[in-house]
Amino acid sequence: MKNIYILLILFVLTAVQYTAYGQEVKKNISEMSKEELSTLTYQDLMNLPLEDLMVVANKFGLSADEILEYFLNKDVTSASKRAEKSLNSPLSTTVISRDEIMNSGATSIPEALRLVPGMIVREKTNGNYDVHIRGNDNMPPKGMFVYSENSISLIMIDGRPVYNYSFGGTFWEALPIDLVDVERIEVIRGPSSALYGPNAASGAINIITRQVEGKKLKADGSVQLGNAAAKQANTGVSLGIGEKLKVRVSGNYSYFERFQKDFYIFDYNKRFPAEQIKGMRLPTGVYVEEHFDDVFPRPELGLEKYAGNAFLHFDASKNISMDLTAGSQYSHVISSTQGNHAMPIVGRESSTNYVDFRLNAYGFHLQTNYMGGDQDVQRKTQGFHIQPKVFNGSLEYEKAFGTLILRPGISYQSSVYNDEKWVDVEAKGGYLNGAKTLTSLAYYLRADYKTFEKLRLIAALRGDTYNKPDVTKLTYQFIASYDVNENNVVRAGYSRANRGSFMADTYANYYWQIVPGYYTMHYEGNQNMNLPVIDMIEFGYRTKLSKKIMFEIEAFHSEMKDFTFFTPDSMVMTFDFSPVKQGQAPNTSPSKIWSHGQYQNLDLKTVQNGITANLSVVVNNNLNFRIFGTLQQTKLSSFYDRTIWQDFKYLQTACAAQYMADLMKIGGGDYSPLPQASNTKDYSAGYKTYGDSSNVSMTHKGTPSFYGGLVADYNFKKKLNFNTSFYFYGKQTMLHNKIDELGQYTPEYISNPAAYDASDAYTIQPKFIVNLKISYKFWKDNSVFVNARNLFNSTEKEFGFMDEVKGLYLAGVSFNF
């Protein structure tokens, strides 16, 4: 029976395929956007007068079949910093357009990245995503949650880095813009520091905002509502003032509630409702979350954010143009922690402002921007509240000498983070205890040379001088690209990139009162570490198999080293001998514990080998699809296979053993170990006592060995649009530093620790996510839509210890007038 329905659907689809022709073109061609033009049928084009046809042709910037090019072979600027066709891009790049994103129904920028090959995108809690390029995620394994953040990819908005320098990474919810502002997103896979500077180690993502076209007052946006209390509203208004000034203002609002409203606790390997956690203590006496109501004023919250932006574009003359953008955002999410607490999730709140200025004049490109505000990285948790002030400035100049194009540049970045408003600086109550500064000054040169018409050689060199560590790091990129013919391009590249420093691993100087007055951990940064570095060799091949089909494949081999890692290195236990002196039973526990840990470089090296392929097919003007996937393997060598808790336990045992030895002596009549001047005695132990004997080699299971997706877009009679996208990843195991303590206070664990299996908490099962958006244009470009994210409600969690991710079903209206 079901099959009959399928046949019926296929029949209807076939029928509509043929009736889709013969539409009248009612709208004025010159007013239509590129996306609207791309929906014109052949019949429409035949009916157009020549002047309109030329408008269509030229809007596509065209050789003869630019409509196809528009889908298959988009312009990409990120890879070479100049506009060029995807086919010719010398790097592994993918561009997704506004149209693709809107049709897909993605609810946020990180979710839209599931449309891009080579991206690992997992949802942690409703609305909050982990985004990695290719891999090296959850690295080093067995670390704190902060090591699961992507600190090795550089995200930019119109070339402005939005990297978070507190612990490294990107707070996606704190980006001021949303999809309503996006013209396209360009993704570069692979190390690209030489082009973009620090942190573009596994790749770079440049989000390009929309340009205002024409002088008319226009408004667009959308409103959608769904389950999990989902509400989203986005709008933008644009206007041209005279011929030269273009203005756009926009606003966005999103609210999503969590799919699971309870909270996981590592030590019980179980979720508890909020009410039960308030006041709950672990058997050690430590509160699970002492200030629960402050930390989680709304335990049901997934994400709430709102922001406003203003964009000004001014064409001063043929050779001079400038852009001024400014905005302000607020966000509050419940997502994974950066620190090390009894629960894996925390609240995070950001309130920031930015201004960005860009000037293009006679081959010079100047960009300067500032971001400042207030970020409570771990809401209402001692030490995590900071005020960031980030400044970037760069000047580049492009000059062509025949087929040689040179682009030298200079860049300065400064980030100042300050926590003194919220911590007791004298008591070292925070990570930074005052304003701390990271700077880098860079000089760079890119040379792009085409010879024999077919061979293109590119070299990019960049030297960044950092203040911490006080070093100059050279990064580079060498690429050879060869046009076999106009439809086939092969390329090979070698590049080196590095991550920069961030605040916590450089400046941390935090006396963490684990048990106030009793157990203190001195958490210390390190200003003299090597910066993590990645080297990659890559081969790529792109081919246009026909005018309608483009296939690309890239094979990559990368090696990464000099990871920075927080490592316990010493402990002092103070024991009180007064009972012994008074002839009573000795104390069994110390009266005070002091421990110390510091960031340092690990011996760990990672080697990743992988292949990413992408097939794009334009079936006709109404239907196109893309299918893509990545197959990869990551091997670790010299991996320090221990958690910080194992290290601390070792240090505790080492201190306690000395105390025991002294007690034995005393018991045997040798009173020399007894402290004389006071009643207490310190016992210390150091990390180096067992050295690096724990280093192992292993296959990394934190990155799925296969991930990919499929996107199909079908347009029926220019009114109805169906977009379905699949995203898939294979099984992963997230190794976290609590994996050996999971459930340690449960009766099952206590009775037989060896048999206790908590792997469900950190094993991510393969997941196949199907999304579907159907929209119907009821009047001009105004449409109503239904939008299903995770259509079949696959409930598996996508990230270790986080919430289950369920189906999100939305309906809404999008307007454009």
Binding site: L45, M46, A64, D65, L68, N620, L623, F726
Partner: protein, 169 residues
């Protein structure tokens, strides 16, 4: 899982549907528009309007799509392919493929006496005698037009077409 397999099948099926030809779409559409903007002498308005193509070119298929459904005034249109200059017979429009640009001077003498609009697709086409010449200006498809070359063959060209093209004389 069953439903995902079904969705995948659906997409596969959709992708197998008609692959309509879109090669050289715009050049063909431009040619069709040239016809609308040029007036032939009465003698050439008899019978079918012949679009000649010199050289093998994907534009042929595109033009056949257009000519199968469209008319030029009252005339039906037909596409004729000539593989070399010798084969050229009377036609109202003659499109010279990019690879055949060097044959323009020769074909001009061959069509002496015909009311033919010669459309070339190579650098210097106008200088060699064609009436309209396609060119790519950067990324944009444009055309050069010579009123003299067109009218010397007894044709009339609309002011609109002259305005849209780049005048070369």
């Amino acid at each position: 899982m069953k439903s995902t397999i079904l969705s995948a099948l659906l997409i596969f099926y959709m992708s197998c549907l008609t692959l309509s030809a879109q090669n050289e779409k715009f050049k063909a559409l431009f040619l069709y528009n040239f016809i609308k903007n040029v007036e032939w002498p009465q003698s050439a308005k008899q019978g079918d309007l012949i679009i000649g193509i010199l050289g093998n070119n994907p534009i042929t298929k595109e033009l056949e799509t257009i000519t199968s459904s469209q008319k030029a005034g009252n005339q039906s249109m037909k596409v004729k392919v000539f593989s070399n200059v010798e084969e050229i017979s009377n036609c109202q429009i003659l499109y010279v493929s990019p690879g055949k640009g060097s044959a323009i001077p020769l074909l001009i003498s061959k069509i002496n006496g015909y009311s033919t609009l010669v459309v070339s697709d190579s650098k210097g086409g106008i200088q060699q005698g064609s009436g309209i010449n396609f060119l790519l200006d950067g990324d944009k498809l444009k055309f050069e037009i010579s009123k003299h070359n067109i009218e010397s063959r007894g044709l009339k060209v609309s002011a609109n077409l002259l305005n849209l093209g780049i005048a070369v004389n």
